[in-house]
Symmetry: C2
Subunit: 384 residues, 2 copies
């Protein structure tokens, strides 16, 4: 099996290294940065290709001879790249988290008879799988919520934050309006709204706030009338981002200054990218809590909760965010190669998660890699 991984950053790297453990699997990593590709030199069964993946001809060249594509690019360039792959008749597992609606590609994927699994990271990703699983295993789901965050283990002022994936995508989380579901309707508020303190025993109190993380899950709002996703950070971080945003430092429109014209976000990205960079060997951690409230198959009102707490892997030098995101993605790819999932078209994880075999397969794959998503159920009341 020949697979090409688009993007050799922290997460693409974890995926490539995981996939080549499989018998008969050969991986090519394509990236625009020679420095990024240098990491893979002399790795068994991993080839590299320097390619500008914003250029259709270079995409064409990169996918030649590969049956499957993993999209692990920054969001802003992901969508068009994935589209080109589908046009070329390749199966795709995508974790670019582009702003565009992936269902715009559904018709194309169906016509080509290929599978396009989108948003198969941690959250979106695992969280959506759990939503699908809840939908399939309960009589009724009233409310779904997800609190999730990737954080550095060591808290360093002033930010107490490191970006575990593309810093431009991190900043986009604070700019893009956040959509959530109330009474079956999509409600939109500015990102960072509705701050709430949440407690994770392993890290203490965190501050959470709305970000636009539901994405494809918004489509099931008629079955699940209340849904919300919040991002978790060490307390105080939200105010710092608000300070930047309210002062104009996240503005995407050009501003005139004496030396010329500049988009403030470009400078902010440049400055924060270096401050937010995880140092080599720097440990990160990931927390996620997903809760579904509703009636179970026995008609009882229950709260079902899954909690994930994951750490940097010192042995392989893999960040926790790369582990939790990348291994969900590589497991999704194995759904295709093992023919557990065969439906052509665009499928998000909440669809895949409704199939017990697919759901259990991914959970088992994560557990094998020491990513344990602990489930608990609280019975609130028995229905008459």
């Amino acid at each position: 099996m020949n697979i090409v991984v688009f993007g050799g950053g922290m997460i693409g790297r974890a995926i490539a290294l995981d996939l080549v453990q499989d018998k008969g699997c050969r991986v090519t990593v394509a990236d625009v940065s020679k420095r990024t590709l240098d990491f893979f030199r002399n790795r068994r069964n991993i080839g590299t290709l320097k390619a500008d993946l914003t250029s259709p001809p270079e995409i064409q060249k990169a996918i030649e001879g590969h049956e499957l594509v993993i999209g692990a690019l920054p969001g802003e360039i992901g969508f068009n790249c994935i589209k080109s792959c589908l046009e070329a008749g390749k199966h795709v597992v995508d974790i670019c988290f582009s702003p565009e609606d992936p269902f715009l590609l559904d018709q194309l994927a169906k016509e080509k008879g290929v599978i396009c699994l989108v948003d198969f990271g941690l959250a979106p990703g695992c969280s959506n799988l759990l939503l699908g699983h809840l939908m399939a295993t309960m009589n009724q789901l009233y409310h779904f919520e997800c609190h999730v965050g990737g954080l550095p283990l060591k808290r360093q002022e002033p930010w107490e934050y490191k970006a575990p994936f593309s810093p431009s995508d991190v900043l986009q989380e604070y700019i893009r309006p956040a959509r959530f579901v109330e009474k079956g309707e999509v409600v939109t508020l500015p990102a960072l709204s509705r701050p709430e303190i949440v407690h994770f025993p392993e890290v203490g109190p965190l501050e959470s706030f709305l970000t636009d993380g539901l994405r494809t899950m918004l489509r099931v709002r008629h079955q699940v009338p209340s849904m919300v996703e919040k991002t978790c950070r060490y307390p105080g971080y939200r105010e710092r981002i608000l300070l930047l945003r309210d002062s104009g430092f996240l503005n995407q429109n050009p501003v005139q200054i004496k030396s010329g014209t500049i988009r403030p976000i470009d400078l902010t990205l440049q400055l924060l990218s270096s401050i937010w960079k995880l140092e080599p060997g720097e440990e990160d951690l990931t927390v996620m809590r997903v809760t579904g409230q509703g009636l179970d198959k026995k008609g009882r009102e229950v709260n079902r909760t899954w909690v994930l707490f994951d750490c940097y892997d010192k042995e392989s030098g893999t960040s926790s965010m790369a582990r939790t995101t990348g291994y969900t993605c590589s497991a999704a790819l194995r759904l295709i190669t093992s023919r557990r999932f065969t439906t052509p078209g665009v499928s998000p994880p909440e669809t895949v998660g409704q199939d017990p075999e697919c759901f259990n397969f991914i959970m088992r794959e994560l557990k094998k890699r020491n990513i344990d998503v602990k489930e608990s159920t609280e019975v609130v009341s028995f229905q008459k």
Copy 2:
């Protein structure tokens, strides 16, 4: 008497309007901005001149026919401008607060036989006058401290701050290392060091921190072995500035971004200038507390304190910072025109304040304009 005011901003304006109250006084306001000058149209005894005061020929033209010059320009262009005025043999009262040492001009002023009064604002300015007065009226001065701040009356998130003078000079206060005096030696720390909560009954707790406000006062460190000046802001402000500074947004060196090269401070100044702008009619307030500790003429150990609390003047629409800074400056000019002060060369307020007549004159002038600096003395112990 013909006076030219260089700079028609908030403070230059207050000075010009104050000076033309005097019999026989004619004022010209010179500024590069036509919009700034429009304010003075049809004001009795005030002429205007559009001039780029970074250009020596335009400075020459502006001072022609005037006996005295007031420097009320942003710090970065002040020094050279003042120098040109002295070269042309004009008396100068300067509140540009330029980074350069004003004593570099002492020889020049003496050669020309002209008076150059520097740093005659509030702090530096009034605070220095009080230091001079303390030095003249006490047997020994152990310690001198000044806490001072200009703040908006209405606290608006996220900054709870408006710049009552040139925003570029405000930002420089946070960049320029802060010098203070310990055991008779000059000590330098980064600006914003040594945070301390101070209480002003009229505004509640404020946060204060080191800024480079002692300036010329550093020269008397052998007579006053401990001296410190701190800037006061509403609590939380310091952390916000530190966030910007530590993230690189106050950096003065160019940074490469995708659209070109930019000095981060230039963008920051552009963005904050508009957010920090006092709206027309917006009320500000000024607080200052100056304390001298030492032995009085009777040999008692005393703490002598002066407290100033001043507000926006609704009637004339004059900001409190313009009142306290501008009226100290205009009073200093009257020291020259009334021949109370006649010494050629550069003189800072701590020198002038040692002359009881000059000191009392300025305090009386401020009081006439409802700026009351309340003095109190606490006797700590009687010396044996």
